[in-house]
């Protein structure tokens, strides 16, 4: 079955991103297709490569990235939500005159239409939030 995943919360503050990750991983391991994971609201914070959790804790960003690497997962960060919260890729840095980027290369910034498209194309939308 084809799933779309929506993640509404950032890492660490709330369990939502952890739950979304475990659900996504379990679905992939069962042979389901994940059409897209869409990060919205504070969920865009899951995409910063600059996160540095203590060594004895999980690295939520790298964990998502590893899953994306293994399964060729499409992980999309909402551009409007990202701009508000300072999640920046090369294109956004250039467009908005920012002196740095912070997005992890396994994530990509795109529009809200990607969430709608995912909901249309998938058989199930599963929302994780607070």
């Amino acid at each position: 079955m084809k799933f779309a995943i929506q993640v509404n919360e950032g890492p660490y503050q709330h369990q939502a991103s952890d739950s979304a990750y475990h659900f996504t991983k379990a679905a992939l391991e069962k042979g389901h297709e994940i059409f897209r994971v869409f990060f919205y609201h504070d969920g865009v914070g899951n995409s910063t490569r600059l996160t540095t959790p203590p060594q004895d804790d999980r690295n939520i960003v790298e964990r998502w990235a590893a899953l994306a690497e293994q399964y060729d997962l499409d992980m999309v960060v909402c551009v409007a939500a990202a701009q508000r919260r300072g999640i920046v890729d090369d294109g956004e840095a250039e467009r908005n005159g920012k002196d740095a980027t912070n997005i992890h290369p396994k994530f990509r910034i795109s529009g809200l239409g990607q969430l709608i498209e995912a909901a249309i194309q998938s058989e199930r939308l599963v929302v994780f939030g607070d």
């Binding site: 929506q6 509404n8 919205y40 609201h41 409007a80 939500a81 529009g111 809200l112 239409g113 969430l115 709608i116 498209e117 909901a119 249309i120 939308l125 929302v127 939030g129």
Partner: protein
């Protein structure tokens, strides 16, 4: 891309301003309108506060996004289900809500109410009838 039209429901359960969920949910609705799906919005629990009239955010230096709800009709988003019990629990009536209208192209642009007042039971059935439910 020939796709069947899906029934989308946006579930609004949070009050505005205290968090950004309501505003960013509305942004999804506006973008989503371009995809020509069968769209409905549900306002229940604190979500009914989103469409209360007379919002003035000047004193908190935040954008007053409530006028955007009035524009939804222009985006062909015309079904706004409001739960009666949620209003009552909060001491509100429909008169406390913005007068949200849409113009029916098929009836010589007659103005119609976008707000559909439903009971909890009716809303449960509305949710049941959807293909996709977005939560924020």
């Amino acid at each position: 891309m020939s796709e069947e039209i899906k029934k989308f429901l946006y579930l609004n359960r949070r009050a505005p301003y205290g968090s950004i969920y309501a505003w960013e949910a509305l942004e999804v609705v506006l973008i989503g309108a371009a995809f020509d799906q069968d769209v409905s919005l549900a306002f229940l629990d604190d979500g009914v506060y989103q469409i209360v009239k007379g919002q003035d955010t000047a004193g908190i230096d935040m954008k007053n996004f409530s006028p955007t709800y009035s524009a939804l009709g222009d985006y062909e988003v015309t079904k706004l289900y409001v739960e009666k019990e949620s209003l009552e629990e909060r001491g509100l009536t429909v008169d406390d809500l913005m007068d949200l209208k849409w113009e029916d192209e098929d009836e010589d642009w007659a103005e119609k109410d976008s707000i559909i007042l439903v009971s909890r039971e009716e809303l449960a059935k509305v949710i049941e009838g959807q293909d996709v439910v977005f939560s924020f």
